[in-house]
Symmetry: C2
Subunit: 642 residues, 2 copies
């Protein structure tokens, strides 16, 4: 290749342009071939974005031989459906054999999926659901700053997705935090699936960026020299820049140009032949078809796990019996401790907040570590995605929010984080009817039911501040996505029958291990979170009446402690007891275990059966038959019946 | 009252202003009293919004004696946490006895909840999660047009929530559809929970509205004359208008003014006394405390159900055996039929799309009924909320989208719709691995797991186009929120053993009724949706080998057919079989039933156990052990083991 990497030179040389034009012609052929062969895909946008992609992948500080080089520039493709263009460009620039992409695009088992995935070398972030890419880019740009790396972040986007609200949220965040090394390039081809963007949903893209404080440039998105110079100029600016690259959908194939139908449809074989002839390329579709049949996936090595931060988990704090701390506060303290220990050691520890710092107990952290605290404002979608992207980059990343905002509002953002195998530590305070007077909109009673759908997220529901402390340290020191939940009210310290802290210095948190809080043989109450202390009080009342039921705490509902629950089942009666939607929470998980195992046990689920009212938690629990007295009565009734 | 309703007069009279000032003084006292008594709430914003609320509730075309008068102006409070201001203003204007609100604010069982709820006369839409109010307002404004009512819609918002992306989405929709009778009034007090809005997340509010094509006015938000005149002027404009009402947080109580801490905290009793003295009001807190103790809720009648459209469900279509239609197409046809029958009869039938009209099969509807088709663009959050609000207003409202966009991306919007007891008909095409080559981001494999958390939504998963046709007509003719899902590929017509359509003219869809597709006594396959036809093919194979298992189709997984499943259990073996996350779908629902009932039955769940790849559906199913052969083998293995 004659192309030299970097944006130092003022202009592209004639030779460089010629080489790029040559690559573009081949890549156009690749795009047409792979979509025709697969019988589906999005060739139109792939062709309009192509020259932008080729320029970026040729000039950015990335290394096809070492695609995960830590100091590389990060290139995010937000409109993941233009994957044919991305694969063709990466292949032609040397990241892999482009024939592998052509032959196996959209074939089950191939890395060359319908929407871009980072299984493919050169791809940084799996996308597909529009509007999230700029937020991911903000995350990568933040990582560069926090880790003192000088790389730049580029985000390529479509024009259609600019109307997603999350894009404007990301723009504001980028300006607030001065992410000057962030550059957006928009493939402005004016066509989305349903028609011209001006008709589908009018939007003043340029003015939107300007209002939010970005610089904007406009160029011909097919002219390599213009693309090069715009990016070069953008990198010298003191603020984030959006480059509006005017393009033509289907560029390079006469009959596809500016034609909406090719947004999301592959060419027929006849159209294909016409296109290949126009491009002056060889028609080798049958050879590729043969390779496809043989499932030749090329030699793409599996992507290694991203950088795992080597976190010092510190020494657990033990709160004494009767201490009024609560799980929220225990999280806040553990966070400060983790930051104190790790930041100095070179492991950045970061917390994101969405305008609730005091309530979610990250205020103290923010005061102590202002450079590591990010206030995302009332922009949860953007914040969730930024936190996810950052967490993959060797930064221990916490995102603290109310359950309803950190889970319900941003479920699809957490879902994409999870698909991206991020390392996010999500802490949701304010779950359950325990939220109380703020009423139903703020009662997150579905944190298990919603998160259960994500294959990667581990969820921990600590019973008291001691378990919360340990759960936070566990999540911090173990790779992967964790959700740790707490209530709003102060959960009391759980004690042994003798009155000592149950989760004391000798206790080690293990993911999936249940806790036998109280013994008994006439039945078992299986509970979690703040309800555990209520169950213990019910146990005491029942004991006085000669009814001995065991009390089991399940802190990891998605990884049930089978042995402990088998013991519970052997009593002949299991009652689950939770401050959660009764159909989707702990009772649901235990039901599956009982049915799967075929255990013979009487089973009753106590949980939330209607949206909550606005009132004190005890009242709300009572109304739904979930206070201590209701539990006691329910146990008595079941024990007597049995 | 000397105040005359309406905005015809050029100015407020001096007497009107005096009366408003008098009401404001009393209402300020109400706000302080109710929050102090409850010990929580948001007095700061309630005080800054108060004069806006009082002016609106006094002047808008609403009737305190008849709060649900169909032609009334609609007033949406987007920042629901300022409920003390809303309750005080409504009470002082005559909607109810304000003392009921003061005495019972945030008391479990009282209608005067922490965030505004429409149990309270005068409130139109339950809010609490910020950023959704303007979209709801768009829905009400659309309803006025569709039903030929001349009412106006006002949306009162906070400044902090302007950064939510959904707000900009709603602005664009309002301009695209020329909602000139929509007026926004922003309480611009510059303070949000965490500090000054300029510091928490800088945002150029005025310019944002201008860029999106709105008119903007700026006024003193405490000056009744200015508020009146601005609204009057706004109503004469030919486009939506945003009024930036500059205010002071905590207005009217000297020590609260511009003080962030009063955003979300009630006054102490000492502060309360100081405030009441400043206002020159009587300190009657003890009397209210007594009423609170006695739980005097006043005499608020329960709000009746909203207008139920009298929909003609038409005559079901029966597709013949072998006809290649698919459930998506069946939906599209049923929709056109419903529109043809009902629009002429005066029942508006509307469909919303998010840039996928052709894929979700609403294109034909859009061509035939352009005035009833709304293209929301790539702005799903806004679209989901608009559709919800509109559906409460006597308009039969469909929102069609891919599962991942209509459910996963907008879960919290559907959640708030559900809390608002809307009448939305959500149709999600493209669910399951059946989506195929678009890959994991587009595989909605959690539609049951996610929607199960909403108490009001009924979900129907039709097995074939005949059942789909009937399910759509059922949802259209029954009040409440329905989700109907389909796959992407064409589901074949299910037949009887004799080869006739199973769901034929003699079949009537009943919510909660299962279908015994094939008989058997050695076990039962329990399935749904597009997997039903695969189960039947497996049944045929198994039959040849002498294995007779029944095949049961469950179209309503949230309302299981207990009797039919009891029969299934009596075979001694149940295998659930679904194109859905194995932990949160049909198998999960059946597991709960088995555990709850204590049925002795061997139980096995077949479903999705990892994010899908990108490839043809049959391949993806095979990889996850869900194709026809895998099912056949699994059944054989279990039958032999039993």
């Amino acid at each position: 290749m004659v192309i030299e990497r970097g944006f130092e030179k003022e202009r592209l040389s004639r030779e460089e342009i010629e080489e790029l034009e040559g690559l573009a012609r081949l890549a156009r052929g690749d795009i047409i071939k792979m979509t025709t062969l697969a019988g589906s895909g999005h060739p139109g946008g792939a062709l309009s974005s192509l020259n932008i992609l080729l320029l970026l992948y040729s000039k950015a500080r990335i290394d096809p031989q070492n695609p995960l080089w830590p100091e590389r520039d990060r290139i995010v493709i937000s409109h993941g459906h233009i994957s044919p263009g991305v694969y063709a460009a990466l292949g032609r620039v040397g990241f892999f054999d482009p024939r592998a992409a052509v032959a196996t695009f959209r074939l089950a088992g191939s890395p060359f999926e319908g929407h871009v995935v980072k299984k493919v070398p050169g791809v940084e972030w799996d996308t597909g659901n529009l509007g999230q890419g700029l937020s991911a880019g903000c995350g990568f740009a933040l990582a560069a700053r926090l880790k003192g790396l000088g790389y730049r972040t580029f985000v390529v986007m479509s024009d259609g997705e600019q109307t997603k609200g999350q894009v404007a949220e990301a723009r504001r965040f980028a300006v607030k935090y001065g992410l000057r090394d962030l550059t957006v390039i928009i493939d402005y081809n004016h066509i989305q699936i349903s028609g011209r963007i001006e008709e589908v949903m009018p939007s003043r893209i340029k003015e939107g960026y300007l209002v939010d404080g970005w610089d904007v440039m406009e160029i011909d998105g097919h002219d390599f020299q213009e693309i090069y110079q715009a990016i070069r100029e953008a990198l010298q600016k003191d603020r984030p820049v959006a480059i509006l690259a005017h393009t033509v959908m289907g560029k390079g194939i006469s009959f596809m140009e500016d034609e909406r139908e090719y947004h999301g449809r592959a060419l027929t074989e006849e159209e294909y032949r016409k296109a290949i002839e126009e491009l002056g390329l060889e028609d080798d579709l049958q050879e590729y078809a043969k390779m496809r049949k043989e499932e030749v996936f090329g030699s793409i090595p599996p992507r290694p796990l991203p950088e795992v931060p080597r976190v010092d988990g510190g020494v657990p704090l033990t709160y004494e019996a009767g201490e009024k701390v609560g799980n929220r506060a225990a999280f806040g303290k553990a966070l400060v401790d983790l930051a104190t220990r790790n930041i100095e050691r070179g492991v950045p520890v970061v917390a994101f907040d969405c305008d609730l710092a005091s309530s979610v107990r990250v205020e103290e952290f923010g005061k102590r570590f202002p450079n590591y605290f990010f206030e995302g404002g009332i922009q949860e979608h953007n914040t969730a995605t930024i936190a996810g992207a950052l967490s993959r980059e060797g930064v221990l990343t916490f995102f603290a929010d109310f359950g309803v905002f950190g889970i319900d509002e941003v479920y699809n953002q957490q879902r994409l984080n999870d698909m991206n195998e991020t390392n996010l530590k999500l802490v949701c305070t304010h779950t359950g009817l325990d939220v109380g007077q703020d009423g139903k909109t703020h009662h997150c009673i579905d944190y298990l039911g919603v998160m259960r759908n994500l294959f990667g997220f581990k969820v921990i529901v600590p019973a008291d501040p001691n378990q919360a402390d340990r759960a936070i340290r566990y999540a911090a020191t173990h790779w992967g996505n964790f959700l740790v939940t707490t209530g709003r009210e102060k959960e009391p310290v759980i004690t042994t029958e003798e009155g000592r802290p149950f989760f004391d210095d000798s206790y080690t948190f293990r993911y999936g291990k249940g806790d036998l809080l109280r013994p008994g043989d006439m039945g078992a109450i299986v509970t979690m979170g703040g309800m555990a202390s209520r169950a213990i009080r019910a146990w005491e009342r029942l004991k006085e009446e000669g009814i001995r039921v065991m009390v089991i705490n399940i802190s990891c509902p998605f990884s049930l402690d089978r042995e402990l629950l088998r013991q519970a089942a052997s009593t002949g009666l299991i009652i689950t007891y939770e401050d959660h939607h009764v159909e989707t929470g702990l009772g649901c998980e235990v039901a599956k275990l009982i049915a799967d195992e075929g255990w013979r046990v009487r089973f009753r689920r106590l949980g939330i059966t209607a949206y909550g009212l606005s009132g004190r938690p005890e009242e709300l629990l009572r109304i739904q038959g979930l206070d201590e007295s209701s539990l006691t009565e329910a146990v008595k009734k079941e024990v007597r019946r049995g």
